[in-house]
Amino acid sequence: MTTTLVDMGTQDRRRDKDADFSAYMSARQPALYRTAYLLAGDHAGAEDLLQNAFAKLYLSWDKIRDREALDGYVRRIMVNENNSLWRRAWKRREHTTDTMPETGTHDAYDDGMGGQVWSFVQTLPPKQRAVVVLRYYEQLSEAEIADVLGISPGTVKSQASRALAALRARAPQSLNPHESGDEAR
């Protein structure tokens, strides 16, 4: 009898956990997929990053008390995984093709510059790219980015500055209006 009760309790907890996790995943998967795509640069990489992050979240679900922190947890796993040197090298080797990288979908109002800027973003080193994605897509503060990346806010600032400098250097003049504001930052 005791065993049966224990088993039923375990099953109930598992059902609750799965229901909670499923609700979170349904609500947040499309948005987090977009972040994964910007980090990875292609759909295969994005799926791999996100599925792995969700799996680790699932394993840690009961330990995370602050449900507001879930997105941050998933982002942190995805960013760290994507920053791996060896993993990047694997992706470079395994996915080398003659075709250009996927450029995403552009709406009718895109004058083409968005695609070009995205191409330049894809050439940034992973940590700079992660800072750019978290800052300009997720619109996180420097402190929030520092928390996700496990680095200091000062390093976030310097990485962002380097990324912008690199984009400025690589972008054609048409994408790079002389802007005193950038220089000042």
Binding site: D18, F21, S22, M25, S26, Q29, P30, Y33, R34, T35, Y37, L38, H43, E47, D48, L50, Q51, N52, F54, A55, K56, Y58, L59, N80, E81, N83, S84, L85, W86, R87, A89, W90, R93, E94, G104, T105, H106, D107, M113, G114, G115, Q116, V117, W118, V121, V132, V133, Y136, Y137, L164, L167, R168, A171, L175, N176, P177, E179, G181, D182, R185
Partner: protein
């Protein structure tokens, strides 16, 4: 307030990503992936525990002196047989020469590299010189992470979902594997960074729980890897050479390999053997039922043979001629009453004639240098640890 360039970046990212409305996974997909991670953690943790410490529990024997040669070589041994030597690090000569390989103290955590002791930001379980810095492994709840570090131990890159590293006996090459999603990649690189990056072999993934682990180097180009099938629990073995993968269907339970001689030490249920890695049949060069085989010396001439006990613990080890299996010297631990004494199975060759081993006596741990000439020196310790914990770790690598 953003600058115009920042606005451009913001717009470009949103135009790229916003139209994406994908939700490719179900909760079932995620649970499956989670189970695979969980199984891999469990296997890795089990392997780590098995590799950590083999402890002998002595009964009724009295303490003996340091480095005593207690037996005359038997007539049946080879002429170069030294004899049986008892290890007692408390009374052994304290060496003025530090360990020639990285010595980690997880209780600090720190690494001793030659005469320098360097504090570490994280408790790396393995660490060896790599490029201009280091490469090391962390055990995060049973999940291995490989970090590439600069010379001040700043993490340059990290690879989660990895295996423990295998470092060649001379410390000049490292191999690792990691879960690349639909397969496992096998990496073989030189620590000096003088080679062009080699292609990586891909070992097929399998059911949840499938794990691929490097065993050793059979040559500079060939890494021996094992694959545990998560479905049926069977092991298979491969030689990975660049992106080529050769199955070794005749191989069973390899424990180490020599890149100099191209041989593999392997174990079956009760006996061990040394095999030619390039044999089509896997015929044994020699067999022994008296030892469990450990790593080969850098020149491939010697191989460690742990002394098994009915309980599977190792109360001693021998240095065996790798070509014949004949013992050159047998080391035994001291066995004072009411002490738990043993030698960790994680031993590392310092050079062709000296082996470094971690010796545990209750809560005290030492590193001892065991010479093929029968010499015993205390290199480090004692470090006091909680019972059952394990602070000192050795990794192959040249820090001389």
């Amino acid at each position: 307030m953003n600058t115009p360039l920042e606005d451009r970046v913001h717009d470009a990212l949103h135009r790229t990503a916003d139209p994406l409305q994908r939700a490719p996974f179900t909760v079932g997909d995620v649970r499956t992936r989670a189970r695979r991670i969980q199984r891999r953690r469990a296997v890795a943790a089990g392997a780590a525990v098995a590799a950590v410490l083999a402890v002998a529990v002595p009964f009724g024997l009295t303490m003996t002196g340091p480095a005593q040669r207690t037996e005359v070589p038997p007539a049946t041994q080879t002429p170069s047989y030294v004899g049986q030597v008892t290890i007692d690090p408390r009374s052994a000569e304290v060496s003025a020469t530090p360990a020639g390989v990285p010595l980690l103290d997880l209780s600090v955590p720190s690494v001793s590299a030659g005469s320098a002791q360097l504090d570490l930001p994280k408790p790396y379980e393995q660490l060896t010189p790599y490029r201009d810095g280091w490469i090391g492994t962390l055990n995060v709840d049973g999940d291995y992470v490989v970090d590439v570090l600069d010379d001040s131990f700043t993490v340059l890159d990290e690879t989660p979902g990895a295996s423990p590293l295998v470092v060649s006996p001379d410390g000049q090459r490292v191999a690792s594997t990691f879960d690349a999603g639909d397969h496992w990649s096998v990496i073989n690189s030189d620590v000096a960074g003088e080679e062009l990056e080699r292609p990586w072999a891909s070992v097929p993934d399998g059911p949840v729980g499938t794990v691929v682990t490097p065993v050793g180097f059979v040559s500079a180009d060939e890494v021996l890897v094992s694959r545990l099938d998560g479905g049926d629990g069977t092991f298979s073995y491969y030689l990975a050479d660049g992106d080529q993968l050769e199955p070794l269907p005749w191989l069973d339970q390899p424990t180490s390999a020599s890149p100099v001689t191209g041989t593999i030490a392997a174990q079956d249920d009760s006996c061990a053997a040394v095999l030619d890695a390039h044999s089509s049949s896997g015929a044994a060069l020699w067999r022994t039922c008296d030892h469990v085989l450990g790593p080969f010396s850098p020149d491939g001439s010697l191989v460690v043979g742990f002394t098994p006990t009915p309980g599977g613990d190792y109360p001693g080890l021998s240095l065996l001629d790798a070509a014949t299996g004949a013992s050159r010297v047998d080391f035994r631990v001291t066995m004072p009453k009411r002490h738990v004494v043993g030698i960790a199975s994680q031993v590392v060759w310092e050079d062709d004639e000296h082996l470094l081993a971690v010796y545990t006596d209750n809560a005290d741990q030492y590193v001892v240098r065991l010479g093929v000439d029968g010499s015993v020196e205390r290199v480090a310790g004692p470090v006091t640890v909680e019972s059952g914990e394990y602070a000192l770790r050795l990794t192959p690598g040249d820090v001389g």
